[in-house]
Amino acid sequence: MRIFDPHIHMSSRTTDDYEHMREAGIRAVVEPAFWMGQPRTSPATFIDYFDSLLGWEPYRASQFGVRHHCALALNPKEAEDPRCRDVLDLLPRYLVKDGVVAVGEVGYDSMTAAEEEAFQRQLDLAREFDLPVLVHTPHRDKIAGTRRSIDVLREAGLPPERVVIDHLNELTVAMVVEAGHWAGFSIYPETKMDERRMVALLLEYGVERMMVNSAADWGRSDPLKTREVGLAMLASGFSSHDVEALLWHNPAAFYGQSGRLQLDEPEAPAAGDFAGNTVMRGA
């Protein structure tokens, strides 16, 4: 099984995770910029974060045979914090980088005016830099938040196929499919969505324009959940062709719209092999 996890926060994960992911067939990931669990206090810490997503993290991933790209944005939660908002002025300098394949995560957390303004400004940036968009949907008041996100996207006039709306569930998927966007699902051990419910949705909606991700981060999550979906699909009678479409071709097609996706095997690091690398702090 060849897997592309289109939404995973590897900065929060260990090298053990990378090893297990590689063994499970995960060959490519996209890490969107998001909230760190601990609130940031200035735009400067976003720059450090972007640097990490463009430098250290892809390097770390390459040592385990995983291609790492990123999406950059001011996340919805911190869009509300006046200490952080100026990062929007610095974003253009980073959206031009080779490793950036989307603008994201953008969208709503509590549906405030400040969140909406940051959301809209970043949709303009996506158009300016010709990048697809990853939209986060809120944990609370998700149905209203998803609907309002679709409205904002329509007003912004972005082609619907250049947007994925993420963290969907049984009650929010239909409106996203109708609007012509990609539908994203985060498969979690307890919250959001699980692999059994996911398979039921795939039976109803098919695999076209659908993406599943582990969204693994610093909270309870599992970076191998994408494979669990693949196994559950096979057990329910889906073909391996369908599994490959969902877990590889769909994310490759979506982020491929950036023109910046590179899915060949990562180049070997200068140290030459996984056993002698600096991620292990010197062999």
Partner: protein, 225 residues
């Protein structure tokens, strides 16, 4: 060592001219003109170089990728030298991804030769040597570091290469700069690894042996470079 791709601007220009096809060549000519007219133009051109021109090895110069050579060419086009050039380099480095940082580091030597950079690029070398990315460390220990890093930092740079797995044969100026103290440090590293029952890379073992009782530079007549 053979001649360097960037030993003169004309060679670099000719090699890139041969390596690039349209529309990349047109992009580069335009980018050079824009950088020459206004140094601020490089802020957006520098990160775009790989997408515009590609990242394969330069034909005939496999140590250089096309994007590194193109980025070096753009830096050489800037109407800047000395401290003013160092300010722009620092800005590009600190806002750059890994490939851009490597390109800045590799460009330091030609910029020193052709644009009077002097020691003003050393803070970037020191920053690079604090990372744990072997590609960045390797780029930092190029000819510019060999010419400008003070002894203690140069020794630490070599030791870091030995420690993280950058082959010592790509470290510029090693035999010219190596001294007794570096010999001691490398031999201590070998002893530590031996005591721990861990493998020792052949290049590290060979360098440690060669430097074991080496007199300091200047005390040895007729030494190799």
């Amino acid at each position: 060592m053979g001649p360097d791709l960037v030993s003169d601007v004309q060679t670099l220009h000719t090699v890139l001219h041969r390596a690039l096809e349209e529309p990349a060549e047109h992009w580069l000519e335009l980018a050079i003109a824009r950088c020459a007219a206004d140094h601020a133009a490089i802020t957006t051109l520098f990160p775009s170089a790989r997408r515009a021109c590609g990242g394969n090895p330069v034909p005939g110069w496999p140590d250089w990728s096309v994007d590194q050579a193109v980025r070096t060419r753009l830096l050489l086009a800037l109407p800047l030298s000395g401290e003013a050039l160092a300010t722009t380099l620092s800005d590009l480095y600190h806002h750059g991804d890994s490939a851009e940082r490597i390109a800045v580091l590799r460009a330091l030597a030609p910029l020193d030769r052709h644009r009077r950079l002097g020691a003003a690029g050393l803070p970037l070398v020191r920053n690079a040597l604090r990372t744990n990315d072997t590609r960045i460390i390797q780029a930092a220990m190029g000819p510019y570091a060999a010419d400008h890093l003070e002894n203690a930092a140069y020794r630490q740079g070599v030791l870091k290469c030995a420690f993280v797995g950058v082959p010592l044969d790509v470290v510029a100026g090693l035999w010219r700069r190596a001294d007794q103290e570096l010999g001691r440090m490398l031999n201590d590293l070998v002893r530590e690894r031996r005591a721990a029952g861990r493998s020792i890379r052949p290049d590290v073992a060979a360098a440690a042996l060669r430097l074991h009782h080496r007199p300091d530079p200047g005390q040895e007549l007729g030494g190799e470079n």
